[in-house]
Symmetry: C2
Subunit: 808 residues, 2 copies
């Protein structure tokens, strides 16, 4: 189909192409220097033993491809006055990006010591992959990066997340052909279905086929060209091929790539102009269908280690896997190897590229864009510079009214959905919700009163809540949800990822990488705080009666707490109003990863909005309404809980005890912020020893009912005075398809068991409660038998509330 | 290209199609019964309140598609005398598979009470998604399943794993269009690149486009047909489309699908005949290229919830997302709803399908294959029936010779590679190695002396170790590696997945599902033991000098130990010979998940082959050669270690103490089998309290240097007498690109720190060692400063061995 093209540009001139080539050579020269040299970066004198790094730790293979793309992007950014974000997906592209940002000046503006002159160049080469220096892949330390290239597979999702709600931005995403084999990357091609050309920017994927991974050919590079073209068209793109058959025909390659880049950007501009000229969110028509033209993408086929050694020891290197890491082994004492390295570096003609002071010559600096348009300086890669706090509506209008604790039921997630609808309304361009087809299943469907689900594909009359400009993105790939939200946050916006609790493990490794990124990012003064990543986990382990054992796993919390205390927060709000307060807090926070776990089924509401806010602010507290403490006396036993189902069972257990052992002094403690359990010397949210002992006592038995695996509570309270008194109940991998209360029974976290635990552990009761103990056990058996026969929980369990008489 | 076709078959007869339709109606009838009924499965009397389940927990949407495919496969299995494994990828296909296996008789043979008559049918419908019953998706309890459909995305990888080395097997893999959006599934299409038509069987993917996920349209269903065709061709398949436009035109659908199935199986037979007629593992030629014909696949487009209610409450249901779960709400007291349900069930004409005793009529039973050819009875779905133990060569020929402990260096992984080469030679059809492009990077390259890497795509002259029949599969997708090995093991073979330690988190969730599967599988007497899944993790946290912080994460062990003690084993062999012994043990084990962590760099070898075997058999032990204990006396301090780098640092610390504090009695304990730390009442590998106290003492300080996060050691020893004496050092998320010893320093696990810890914790030394303490701290600072200046670790660290004098 034809595209209106309002923005064709003049082709690159010979002078521009010459500048691009010079720029590329300079970046390659500096990259080789980083791999090999401790000093003598300008080769002022013949390379000596002490000039060579003792350990050669870097990757050459992908470097010349990345510098090639970087050099060419410089031209089009300036020519078109275009914001571009470069996402460098291939592994270990560090030297390319560091060299390039140094050339354009953005590196030295951030790291003053690494100045854009010979002294800075000496530091530049030495610091790379050197103890106390910088990593070999793009990292938080790398200007212009939004988390790419360490663990592989997330570049395309990050690029798509970046362009959402940034209509003027083009994300040029270089995708390595190794990376392209990963699951996350494979699932990301479809993300354009959620991009609205009217309101969002565009991603330009640049699939870089250099043919090899560490030691193997890549699948995409070895498939016939016509198959690859079908594949890309099948993903919804129009592929433009640039193939470098002859490594020496550099001029041809530059001209080809420049023309292709122009053609692609023209095509993008055309699609956007077309979409922006019309209406975007209309119902589906044949015209709308026609408007969904394929986005352009580039397939750049170039030799791995291009411009590096052709052969070493008689074996081909350039264009093979042998160029992946250090293509030319250079031990410091090997004269011949040092000479070969010198010849390689001199092949870039450094004297033409740098002046006597080591500064890039004007031909190079003239090519670079200026100011924030530089790829290393763009605020889109330092999203905190663009971050504006959310406009957060009050939670009180949607909060549950609680005249008395534990009398009425509300669905926490359903209520939260009403508030999130208001958040979406108040922040129509800076907040989004992401979920793997589970937003309604997680009971957040009220958000669809304020917005739709983004969908820029065919619509049918039967469809509901789908529109190109929807604020909710639903795709059955947790990887893509996570990657899109990361890209969205890293470019200065806000959002939430809602997910089934068990299946968030699918992104464990992406969580790791984001947590590690945030930890380093926090320590860099030039990186501005970004909005926190908030996981909203529902359909949790205790509410999987539809799904059973495969859907029961509360271990994401355990996984998360291994990461830095400066980053990770875990919240287990026990009811509707505490969930609202928790989410309000999370959406105000920056530079954190918040994990919020909440049930979706109607459950008892314990605290009114004000009490809930107060409770959440403290993170944990004694619930006097639920206990039987006498003022001024230490309780006989503490019943503690974290998580909604454990809270209900704990309060019920306390009521059983109050009824049957009225003299027993029981304290009930509820924990919302799990990090409060840690000592304040180990975690910023930690409780002091005195405060902890004041709440949990120094010596009374604590029966702790916990949402997840019990060991985590032991871990967090390991250094507490009363840790020996902690008796923790949690999920211990006993699950099947059954009712919620049967799940509690199976895992020994039910009210009867908690009461038995208390009786067993209070010394004064030893041996005195055999009748009650037996009755509690009988009640367990009876509940189980009823459930198995009738197929649902007994009424006295499901109808129970704090107002009801305790029933055995 | 033309395909020789040795195996065209007669098209389905009208009688066959009628039988297929009857079979399909019966399976659908029984599926609806499972969703709704507690009893009265044959509708003997009008449905009453008590006949309806109190909680309707199941999924109708995908069911009729699965039963449709199942019915049709029955015919071709018999007609062609063909082994077929059905992998049912879509979520919640449980009712379809249970109904189908009951119809063919395989269900009742396993679960005798659920007999193939009315009494059995009553149990059949009631047990589904019922407390104490069976799950709503395919599960270990489901005959014919190899782990599919709980968490989504693994069906295609499982199917490919199943057909490797099974030349006579066709795996028909039904892929849900929701599932198809996941990362793992997206990455799995390419797996045919590793299939050798000469030696392996074939996968027939059946992409089932029913159009909807839980609440959203699917991406693949909404893309134009020509784009979808390009996509499948781009993945290397020839798609055959069967489209059900009119839900009522059932006859057309049956005829179409039967003909398409025949065409696909003919095509598969042709490809295989072609490949098997020629040579398979030859070098690449134009002819070879021509031989790589695309494999056939089917795109079945049919309405979600086909044959279910068309409309409910005026809203379309069949063919929409509303059919996903329970399409027709039926509360027990609602007469009209019960009537609607009755009408729906009667629409399948049960009287034509079941005789008066509730048995399937002969028309149905005649369609089913017999014996092990039935999809629910095939041994390929109960792999233990096919399992033969590996022929394991002795490890001694490759083991390191150790005249004295800690004198010489070996690379554990390099040595292991030599042994694995022998394992491959001895088991040329039942053992495979899988890795994400890291087998050589993990130093297992000696395996290529025995085999190649599987590669059935274009070959270039520069290629090494690639061949269609290679026993190593390398693809840069941890998901695909894991999924292929799962499929290979579940069908009765053996293998190992080698992976960078940090990035194995990518498959955390797949690990969960496999661990859960094994736990349930172990409890089912009819499921025979299968070979264990062995993770071989290298390039670990302490050896990431190339890669830095993003590649440092030892948390997979923490993740794993949350799963059942009956399944999970963790081994941290400290050197080459213990690694060999550990792997020998793991490859003999069944029904476990073994996690083995080992370094790849040359490191000190401590134990000769016999001592290593003895040490590994005990799982942990006192290393007398490393300590300074006096016979008959309790030591002053215990230095314990687990992991290769911590072991070296611990032995070095002991030597420092022996030199500088010669009177101190130091015991050194090395732990290989981490589960030994647990109490024997909690884990089958656990140590008794007496044995544990004998080794770790009841009251002496224990300085424990651990490979991963320290909290795990506290967790495992939580109930031990001396747990308060445990002082654990491990990785605490301090990492960057630096030398190995600098990493130890950063995380406080270096020899100097361990010696300081010991001095600080032995009461008798309090205040007496200030000079030594200061010297140890100075040594830390000096090592760090040297590393930062010179770029490598000091010689006295890298050259140190047990024979060397300790140097500060």
């Amino acid at each position: 189909m034809a595209t209106d093209n309002p923005a064709t540009h003049d082709p690159a001139t010979d002078a521009q192409l010459a500048a691009i080539d010079a720029w590329w050579r300079a970046a390659n020269y500096l990259s080789v220097g980083q791999l090999y040299l401790r000093q003598n970066a300008l080769l002022r004198r013949p390379l000596q033993n002490q000039d060579i790094k003792r350990r050669l730790l870097g990757h050459w293979g992908t470097t010349p491809g990345l510098t090639f793309v970087y050099a060419h992007l410089n031209r089009v950014i300036t020519d078109r006055d275009q914001d571009v974000l470069l996402v460098a997906g291939p592994g270990h592209g560090g030297p390319a990006l560091v060299a390039s940002t140094w050339l354009e000046g953005s590196y030295s503006e951030i790291y003053g010591a690494v100045s854009r002159d010979e002294a800075g160049m000496e530091l530049l080469v030495r610091q790379f992959s050197y103890p106390g220096g910088i990593p070999s892949h793009a990292a938080p330390e790398t200007p212009g990066s939004i988390n790419e290239g360490g663990e592989l597979g997330y570049s395309l999702a990050h690029g798509f997340g970046a362009v959402l709600d940034n209509p003027g931005l083009v994300a040029a995403v270089v995708i390595g052909d190794g990376e392209a084999e990963t699951g996350a990357l494979s699932a990301s091609w479809d993300a354009h279905v959620f991009v609205d050309p009217h309101r969002d920017g565009a991603v330009l994927p640049i699939l870089h086929l250099n043919g090899w991974k560490i030691a193997n050919p890549t699948v995409l590079a070895r498939m016939p060209q016509d198959q690859l073209e079908r594949r890309m068209r099948g993903h919804g793109y129009e592929p433009f091929f640039v193939t470098v058959d002859d490594p020496d025909a550099v001029d041809v390659a530059h001209r080809d790539f420049a023309a292709t880049l122009d053609a692609c950007l023209d095509r993008i501009a055309g699609i956007q102009a077309h979409a922006r000229g019309g209406t975007s969110a209309s119902a589906d028509t044949a015209e709308d269908e026609a408007r969904r033209e394929p986005w352009p993408m580039i397939v750049l086929r170039s030799p791995k280690g291009w411009t590096g050694p052709t052969e070493v020891d008689g074996k081909p290197v350039e264009g093979t896997w042998r160029a992946h890491q250090i293509p030319l082994p250079v031990s410091p004492d090997d004269d011949a190897a040092r000479e070969a390295l010198t010849a390689w570096m001199r092949s870039y003609r450094p004297e033409d590229l740098f002046d006597d002071d080591g500064r890039p010559r004007p031909q190079l600096t003239a090519l670079s864009p200026v100011g924030d348009r530089r790829l290393g300086a763009t605020p889109f890669a330092n999203g905190g510079r663009l971050l504006a706090p959310l406009r957060l509506p009050p939670v009180t209008p949607v909060a549950a009214d609680v005249p008395e604790p534990g009398r009425q039921r509300n669905s926490p997630m359903l209520t939260l959905g009403s508030w999130l609808a208001e958040v979406i309304r108040a922040n129509p361009e800076t907040f989004r919700l992401f979920g793997p087809d589970e937003t309604a299943s997680n009971r957040l469907q009220h958000v669809y009163e304020a917005t739709d689900k983004a969908w820029n594909a065919r619509l049918l009359p039967v469809d509901e809540n789908l529109a190109p400009d929807g604020r909710v993105i639903e795709v059955l790939s947790e990887h893509l949800c996570q990657g899109l939200l990361e890209g969205y946050l890293l470019t200065g916006r806000h959002g939430v990822f809602d997910c089934y609790e068990a299946f968030v493990h699918i992104v464990d490794s992406m969580f790791n990488q984001h947590a590690k990124w945030l930890k380093v990012h926090q320590r860099l003064p030039w990186r501005q705080p970004i909005a926190s990543f908030t996981y909203l986990l529902s359909s949790h382990v205790w509410q999987q009666d539809h799904n059973g054992f495969s859907h029961q796993d509360p271990g994401f919390i355990d996984h998360a707490v291994n990461k830095s205390a400066d980053v990770v927060r875990v919240y287990l709000p026990p009811d509707t109003n505490t969930l609202l307060s928790t989410m309000d807090h999370c959406l105000r926070s920056t530079d954190r990863i918040n994990i919020v776990v909440s049930g979706k089924q109607p459950s008892l509401t314990w605290l009114g909005p004000e009490d809930a806010a107060h409770h959440c602010a403290r993170g944990l507290g004694v619930w006097e309404f639920a206990g039987t403490e006498r003022a001024g006396e230490k309780p006989d036993v503490v019943l503690a809980c974290a998580g909604d189902v454990p809270t209900t069972e704990t309060v019920a257990a306390a009521q059983l005890l109050a009824h049957h052992v009225p003299d027993l002094s029981v304290r009930v403690v509820n924990v919302v912020d799990l990090m409060r359990l840690i000592d304040d010397r180990s975690h910023p949210h930690g409780l002091s020893a005195a405060d902890f002992d004041g709440i949990f006592t120094e010596d009374r038995p604590v029966i702790f009912a916990y949402h997840g695996y019990a060991s985590l509570i032991h871990r967090l309270t390991y250094k507490r005075t009363n840790h020996a008194g902690m008796h923790v109940r949690g999920y211990h991998e006993e699950g099947t398809t059954t009712t919620p209360f049967d799940m509690a029974l199976l895992n020994g976290i039910d009210r009867y068991q908690l009461a038995i635990d208390a009786i067993d552990r209070v010394p004064a009761l030893h041996g005195t409660q055999t009748v009650l103990r037996q009755r509690l056990q009988d009640a367990q058996l009876a509940a189980r038998a009823y459930t198995r026969e009738v197929g649902e929980d007994p009424d006295h369990i499901t109808d129970w509330s704090l107002a009801a008489d305790p029933v055995l």
